[in-house]
């Protein structure tokens, strides 16, 4: 077995004069739950379609289980797809839909019946075998689509925004179900989504796409805590940006002079050298508001602009010069005292630790 279930080597795809995928290289490990994440039009779906064989790369090569795919048509690749629209065959029953792939492999009638039964058990729809897709809810159709793909025991399962059409509650349920299912069947899952929370919750690793390029590949932890670019920091979760110029780099840390002459210190990421334009990125939950200045180098007096109490935390917007910053204060004290919280118009001291901020080269 090859190291990678799927590998893309310098793959590009051009439609007319639009570069959909721009020199993408990445390896997806065996039995990994891998997410391709990005806004619409970033190339993630085109990449998935090239792995499935629906599109041919303009240049570069795709390897599935170590074998170069070249012009191998979709029906000769041992991968199966769960389509965004499910793409169930409307003129076939659930049973016939799920059995289609096995029938194509030329399995015996009894073997097909047995495996279709198992697959429907797996997605918890055994009593629906005789129904037609139009007689089912969106969530049920989604499971049929999953069963139809998984029943073939592919090397890799490709999922194209499979939860996009479901309502929020059902989506949460299916996220957990999919993750459990992936562990049970032990198949590599490649999952395309634009929902960063979904990607963080479900994946072993995430590739963040933007404008046809892969900006970063890493575990959810790495992607959230150590984004290497401004785009990734912005796209994944919420963050505050403070723009400025790098003053000095001292080991792991760099200081940035932001507008208003304020100096901030954070972890120096790739490409940070004295004199370059940079941005300090700090997550709202990693910033505190205090009444007295502390000894952090990132401590400045701010004015409270607005506050919103959201239960688990209190979301405060403060102004620091011309910047507005989001601060999420954890509600660690149970209180009904309204004076416990800062009020709009009051001044406070904003502080965050250098190790909680990132200095990203622009």
């Amino acid at each position: 077995m090859a190291d990678y279930a799927v590998e893309m080597r310098d793959v590009s795809k051009v439609f007319g004069d639009v570069v959909a995928v721009d020199h993408v290289s990445m390896g997806i490990r065996q039995k990994e739950f891998f997410a391709m994440l990005g806004p619409s039009g970033c190339g993630k779906t085109t990449s998935l379609r090239m792995i499935a064989g629906f599109e041919r790369p303009t240049s570069g090569e795709i390897y599935i289980d170590g074998k170069a795919m070249g012009n191998t048509p979709p029906f000769q690749r041992n991968v199966n797809t769960v389509f965004q629209s499910y793409a169930l065959f409307p003129h076939m029953t659930v049973e016939q839909n799920v059995g289609f792939g096995l029938e194509m492999k030329g399995l015996s009638r009894s073997e097909i019946v047995r495996r279709v039964g198992e697959a429907l058990e797996l997605v918890r729809l055994p009593q629906m075998a005789k129904r037609y897709p139009r007689q089912m809810s969106g969530g049920q159709q989604q499971r049929v689509a999953l069963a139809r793909a998984l029943v073939n025991r592919p090397d890799v399962l490709l999922l194209d925004e499979p939860l996009g059409a479901l309502d929020a509650k059902l989506r949460k349920e299916m996220q957990i179900e999919l993750k459990t299912l992936q562990r049970e069947v032990g198949i590599t899952f490649i999952f395309v989504t634009h929902d960063q929370e979904e990607a963080l919750t479900m994946s072993d690793r995430i590739a963040v796409f933007s404008k046809g390029k892969v900006l970063q590949i890493g575990t959810p932890l790495e992607i959230y805590e150590r984004p290497t670019t401004r785009f990734v920091a912005d796209f994944i979760g919420e963050t505050n940006f403070l723009e400025g110029r790098v003053q000095e780099v001292n080991g792991e840390f760099a200081s940035v002079i932001a507008d208003g002459g304020r100096r901030f210190v954070g972890r120096a990421m790739d490409g940070v050298r004295p004199g370059v334009q940079a941005v300090v990125s700090v997550r709202p939950e990693k910033v505190q508001l205090v009444e007295q200045p502390d000894n952090s180098p990132n401590c400045y007096e701010v004015r409270v602009h607005s506050i919103a109490y959201v239960g688990s935390d209190t979301r405060v917007i403060v102004s620091l010069g011309t910047n507005h910053l989001d601060v999420w204060e954890q509600n660690t004290v149970s209180t009904l005292d309204p004076n416990y919280f800062f009020k709009p118009g009051e001044t406070a001291w904003l502080t965050f630790k250098p190790e909680n901020a990132l200095v990203l080269a622009q």
């Binding site: 048509p73 797809t81 065959f89």
Partner: protein, 284 residues
């Protein structure tokens, strides 16, 4: 008159829906005029046809007077070998030209829907232009064409001509159907191991079938009813029913003609209703 009180109905899931206020029925002058014009319109459309059908059951040989009910004209139609021969020709031509028009029209529609090329909209226009070409022009041009390439007139020329004028209708119908066709089901079939041919046979064709059947019924009806074009391209011994009827009429309208016409009308209506039903069923 409806009152302003709102009638409360229980909806499917038990939620309460206010009933929309019904339209007020007013038997005023406007309504009287509306009904009169509507009735007049229907009379204008259907009285001649009803008269034809009624007189096909009239025992009087000539004239517009009713004598008594009879089925003898129908009996004569079915024992007249020349009529039966013409009817057989019509059915052969309609069946084969429908087959030809459906195959060519459907494949053309698929090609035009799925590929993009330079000048495509011009080719697209050329494909359905025959729909608006006057029949007499098409008839004459086909006649000249067959004479030029030296094909003697007969069933073959009829079939070729009928394919030519039915095909654009099939093409138009299938283009409309294909525009709503979700191609991801074809990708799904290929993803599951079906090659192009199996995908076409097991997925594409069954899903297009309602459209194919309704365009086939349309083509069949058009072919069966066609007179003008058939008149130009028909040969000795290959007369279709409408051409035969026209030949007979020159010697005066007989009740037999009424009976054949009534039969053709019934067949056409059946085909049109079948088309409508199939289209309706696909939409729901």
């Amino acid at each position: 008159m409806t009152s302003d009180s709102t009638i409360i109905l229980l909806g499917e899931r038990g939620e309460i829906k206010p009933k929309p206020r019904g339209e007020t029925r007013r038997f005023g002058v406007g309504r009287f005029a509306l009904v009169t014009i509507a009735l007049f319109t229907f009379a204008f459309l259907y009285v001649p046809i009803v008269v034809l059908i009624v007189f096909s059951f009239n025992s009087a040989r000539t004239g517009a007077t009713w004598q008594s009910f009879t089925l003898q004209w129908y009996d004569r139609v079915f024992s007249n070998t020349r009529i039966l021969e013409a009817a057989a020709n019509s059915l052969i031509v309609a069946t084969l030209s429908t087959l030809g028009a459906v195959v060519i029209g459907t494949l053309m529609a698929m090609a035009m829907e799925r590929y993009r090329f330079r000048g495509q909209s011009a080719w697209d226009g050329l494909l359905y232009l025959p729909v608006i070409v006057p029949e007499i022009v098409m008839g004459i041009s086909l006649l000249i064409f067959f004479a030029a390439v030296n094909i003697s007139r007969g069933l073959l020329t009829l079939i070729i001509s009928h394919i030519a004028f039915c095909m654009p209708f099939v093409y138009l119908t299938m283009r409309a159907r294909l525009a709503d066709f979700d191609r991801s089901v074809e990708e799904a079939a290929q993803d599951l191991g079906a090659n192009e041919w199996v995908t076409f046979r097991r997925v594409t064709l069954p899903l297009l079938m309602p459209g194919i059947i309704s365009s086939a019924l349309l083509a069949f009806t058009l072919s069966l009813d066609d007179f003008v074009i058939s008149f130009f391209v028909t040969g000795v011994g290959s007369q279709t029913l409408p051409v035969y009827i026209w030949g007979q009429i020159r010697r005066g309208i007989t009740p037999e003609i009424n009976a054949i016409s009534a039969l053709m009308l019934v067949l056409s209506i059946v085909l049109v209703i079948a088309t409508q039903l199939i289209q309706h069923r696909q939409r729901t």
